[in-house]
């Protein structure tokens, strides 16, 4: 690591402030003194790069239909910036989140990457990612341009570490032919809890189990989260220091899902992905799934399907959503040219978010969301109507550890091995201990 780069020195090089100052000497603010810089007063980062040729590596987990879209955006960027060559590598998300910190710690980390909103704080606390306040400044991005919870989640210890690329909410996918077969209007999917149950009854009368309740994170746990928020609850308290998913709203949410199985609207023992496949082959009518499912369903020949906002089962509208964010990774040797080039890249892709939306996402930027072009993307914008009702996983370091206990509770309850209240209470007790542990660890 080099210590000879100072904020002023970098500014003198015309590189910009903020994240560029990595390994400076200011070690008092924050748990990890190695990474510093940025802050709300950061100067805008460069939006073009005229230095010597640089090669950047860009890692992400876009293994689905979104991968080719991102690849074409990268190619577009490379063509427009002959002195920057970005190479993209794709890993499974689960592998990616293990691989990246290890690679960064040995100095072999990529220059750029994508992170889910709930991973940003953990990786900021662990010194894996660099502050990006300057990029936010040069993009002239403000909270009101985005969905506020997404925008705020990118900040850790009053520095911004992530630039939102998209939001990917849960929506209600439906198979039109199956609805028709049960005498339901395929153009008017249910919007309330009563309508939803009535539709499930009509389907059941035809021998169709309309909503397959998945016991796995994709999609069962996300459904549980949507419903918990719909019943007015929270997963964790605002500081994410205490689990709240086992309280009344959580129990109602999980009971509702378990009742789908108990009342025969869902088969028992649904396995991973079976819920999504059942919709495709006409065994189920509904599947509450992430927006990425649009691409998958578009690839199924002869399938007539639609997507809408989630029905309002609880007392208010709400839906789970995740968000992809740009991050810049810490490097062992600090190359200001690469950092600048990386910021230019983030800036460029961020402005292409409509193209990205075509890959099956809702753009993070409000102006793009409200553009006529985005409204022309029928499915994406149907899901996008929920933007003000979206809830995101909390962004505090180590939150994923606590959320893993919730996955277990949902799994046990939907597989009918534990009563919902008991499963959630057991998980919450464990989550509380883990949060306590994390507080000590991350400060």
């Amino acid at each position: 690591m080099t210590d000879n780069l100072t904020r002023r020195g970098l500014l003198g090089l015309g590189v910009g402030a903020g994240g560029a100052v990595l390994l400076g000497a200011c070690g008092d603010d924050g748990p990890n003194p190695v990474v510093n810089g940025g802050g709300g007063d950061a100067q805008p980062a460069a939006t073009s790069y005229s230095g010597p040729n640089v090669a950047l590596t860009f890692w992400n987990g876009f293994t689905g239909g979104d991968g080719p879209v991102m690849k074409s955006l990268v190619e577009k960027f490379n063509a427009a910036n002959p002195n920057i060559k970005v190479t993209m590598n794709v890993y499974e998300w689960a592998d990616y989140y293990q691989k990246v910190p290890a690679a960064v710690s040995t100095g072999n980390g990529p220059d750029l990457g994508i992170m889910h909103v709930e991973q940003v704080a953990t990786n900021a606390a662990r010194g894996v990612v660099l502050p990006l306040d300057d990029v936010a400044a040069s993009l002239q991005l403000k909270e009101e341009d985005f969905s506020p919870p997404v925008w705020r989640a990118g900040v850790y210890n009053s520095k911004r570490y992530a630039i939102p690329l998209d939001v990917h909410p849960q929506g209600m996918f439906y198979n039109k032919k199956v609805l028709q077969a049960a005498g339901l209007d395929p153009e008017k999917p249910p919007t309330t809890g009563d309508e939803y149950l009535a539709a499930l009854d009509a389907l059941k009368a035809k021998g169709i189990q309309g909503h397959w309740a998945s016991p796995f994170p994709f999609t069962g746990v996300h459904q549980f989260e949507s419903l918990t928020w719909q019943f007015g609850g929270q997963l964790f308290d605002d500081a994410a220091s205490k689990p709240m998913f086992a309280e009344d709203a959580g129990v109602k949410a999980l009971t509702w899902l378990v009742d789908l199985v108990k009342k025969g609207y869902s088969p028992k023992n649904v396995a991973q992905d079976a819920d999504a496949i059942a919709l495709q082959n006409g065994k189920a009518a509904f599947n509450w799934n992430g927006i990425w499912n649009i691409n998958t369903l578009n690839g199924v020949k002869g399938l007539e399907w639609g997507v809408s906002a989630l029905p309002q089962i609880g007392t208010q509208k709400a839906a789970w959503a995740g968000s992809h964010n740009f991050v810049q990774f810490k490097q062992k040797a600090n190359d200001p040219n690469k950092l600048t080039a990386g910021k230019v890249f983030i800036n460029f892709i961020s402005q292409q978010s409509l193209e990205w939306a075509k890959g099956g996402q809702v753009p993070a930027r409000k102006e793009v969301r409200e553009s006529a072009e985005f409204k022309g993307l029928k499915e994406q914008s149907a899901i996008g109507t929920q933007i003000d009702d979206l809830h995101f996983p909390p962004s505090v370091p180590g939150i994923a550890d606590a959320m893993a206990t919730m996955d277990v509770a949902v799994n046990e309850a939907i597989l009918l091995r534990k009563e919902p209240a008991k499963a959630l209470a057991d998980a919450a007790a464990k989550a509380g201990q883990i949060l306590e542990q994390n507080k000590k660890k991350y400060g």
Binding site: P31, S105, R126, A271, Q272, A274, A400, L415, R417, Q433
Partner: protein, 286 residues
């Protein structure tokens, strides 16, 4: 010079062993005595607290850890006998002369060539409780991947199908090393098929058997991929094995100190089992 020759020959291996096994193993003990996240600057020394937590029912790891040890135990106890006996039967059959023998040898060994990702995904789809081919052929709705004891039956069954060929090939090599004249002598003494098997084949296979038993126990106790891909630990965390939980704790929650302590505990247990197996086979030698 002459004295040092054997050591010089050993040196390359020792160097590799020290770098990739010995040093990391000792370093692991050091890690297990700390609250260790390799990316955080502070790694507070906690003494034996990570080990004590494994025995403290109020600690956050206690339930999950013992649950995972139980899962590993169930899997090992269920799969090892099958993986010792079934490949032996296959090897005995494949050791006889019949047309197409080479083909069958290849067929039984073939699954072992596939990676765990391939067989895991393949069987997850085949065994899907509601959409899978297995239930569809049987006309049942058995929760092969999401219910108990079915998930264990699936995991053990898939593992036996997958790795049977490996043990069978080891046995086959062992069988071919047994001198033919011992069988001839046995026959002259009036031994039948069973007596031949008991008094010639089994003793002849003993060195191979020791290897197969220990190797199979260790492989089963280290089971990870099958659970990870086929059941994802479900239902609940019932099929989450020790290795899976240790990986979660160390690599996903970044509590490497705690994960290292669990690894050492598991290693000690497996060492103990290995020693017992060695003893058992040695005593029979007398």
């Amino acid at each position: 010079m002459r004295r040092s020759t054997p050591y010089l020959f050993l040196l390359p291996y020792v160097a590799i062993f020290a770098t990739f096994t010995l040093v990391p193993a000792v370093y692991g003990i050091w890690i297990s005595l700390h609250d260790w996240d390799y990316l955080l600057p502070g790694k507070p020394f906690v003494g034996l607290a990570n080990y004590a937590a494994l025995f403290d029912s109020a600690s956050p790891v206690f339930d999950f850890f013992w649950q995972s040890m139980e899962a590993t135990g169930i899997f090992t106890v269920a799969s090892v006998p099958l993986l010792i006996v079934a490949p032996m039967g296959v090897a005995l059959l494949l050791n006889r002369a019949f047309p197409g023998r080479t083909l069958f040898r290849a067929v039984y060994f073939a699954p072992y060539v596939l990676g765990v990702a391939v067989i895991g995904l393949l069987w997850r789809f085949l065994l899907d409780p509601n959409l899978g081919m297995v239930n569809s052929l049987l006309g049942t709705d058995i929760p092969w991947t999401t219910g108990l004891p079915w998930a264990w039956i699936s995991l053990v069954g898939v593992t036996v199908w997958w790795t049977l060929g490996f043990n069978a090939v080891i046995y086959l090599a062992g069988l071919q090393d047994i001198p033919r004249d011992l069988y001839d002598a046995a026959r002259v003494d009036g031994a039948g098929r069973w007596a031949e098997f008991r008094h010639v084949t089994i003793p002849g296979l003993r060195p191979v058997l020791t290897f197969v038993v220990i190797n199979t126990i260790l492989a089963s106790a280290n089971m990870f991929g099958q659970s990870y891909l086929i059941t994802q630990g479900a239902p609940g965390v019932e099929t989450r094995t020790a290795i899976m939980y240790i990986a979660d704790e160390g690599l996903r929650s970044y509590r490497m100190g705690s994960a290292a302590a669990m690894s050492y505990f598991l290693t000690l247990g497996l060492l103990l089992v290995s020693v017992i197996v060695f003893r058992l086979f040695r005593e029979k030698d007398k």
